[in-house]
Symmetry: C2
Subunit: 169 residues, 2 copies
């Protein structure tokens, strides 16, 4: 017994992004109670030299999308990073969930040893086998940006807690 | 082919906590350049009703420790959460790495179907099989607190970047 590559990837991305949709609901509700434009969340940053909320979600989306495509050995679709509203971000998250779900287990399973090459903006590309890529690059990158999106909302006063992060209750 | 439960857990925790030791080095160096007490990081919070830096590391430590113990079916040691300095936190992170490494693959592999029960402070305990516990509870909880620790340092001006988060370069 062990974990298949599909089981270690697709449900992890789908669950966390489904949780993210709940955080967006709570951000929207928070803005309505406090009577500010919910789209003000889109540009929030934890520090002036950190990426804004929308980019955190876009990069988490790309991490999940790119992971599924690379493990399956197909070309990932290119999505414009033009989300400007909370509704746009919700649609991006849902589109990502749908894309992840579009892969069958058979397309992903057996990709443990697949050679994965990630081009870098500068320097040598990163090379992994499929298992190391999933465990040490795609998954932590996905959680990094999902958690930073959560932290931004939490920092901004949205009433979300660990249960909303982990979901499934 | 597939991922073993040991391979999906131990190296993930060890790698991220090894990365965290580098962030602590950079936090220490930042404090020395700016001439403030590096232990000031220990109590930092992203919001007044969020847990401080030390607790983020303690909970990430407990997530890794508890995961290994539960998957192996042994009792986790209880560690006092009394870290008060950056050096204490470094020791806690190293102790966690050593504890995770103390498990053999044979102790963890085959735990996919093991029944895991997490007592909750209020309400019904959470129940998972080993695979769901690892993927949907222990791992996201570990990354949640590790990322929040990173975000706190980053927010406080420490010069760390994505490469320090992902490590291994």
């Amino acid at each position: 017994m062990s974990i298949s590559m599909h089981s270690a990837s697709a449900p992890v991305f789908v669950r966390m992004f489904s949780n993210l949709l709940v955080w967006l609901d709570k951000a929207q509700a928070h803005a309505e109670v406090r009577k500010f434009d919910a789209n003000n969340f889109v540009g929030l940053r934890l520090a002036p030299d950190m990426l804004p909320f929308a980019r955190q979600i876009q990069i988490a989306s790309d991490a999940a999308k790119g992971c599924m495509a690379r493990l399956a050995g197909v070309e990932a679709p290119k999505w414009d990073d033009n989300e400007a509203t909370l509704a746009d971000l919700r649609a991006r998250v849902q589109k990502t969930i749908d894309y992840v779900k579009s892969f069958s287990a058979a397309q992903i399973d057996g990709s443990e040893g697949r050679e994965i090459t990630i081009p870098m903006r500068s320097g040598e590309p990163l090379k992994f086998d499929g298992e190391a890529y999933l465990k040490h690059y795609a998954t932590p990158n996905f959680y990094f940006h999902s958690t930073t999106a959560y932290a931004l909302l939490r920092h901004a006063g949205v009433e979300i807690g660990k249960g909303d992060f982990l979901g499934g209750r």
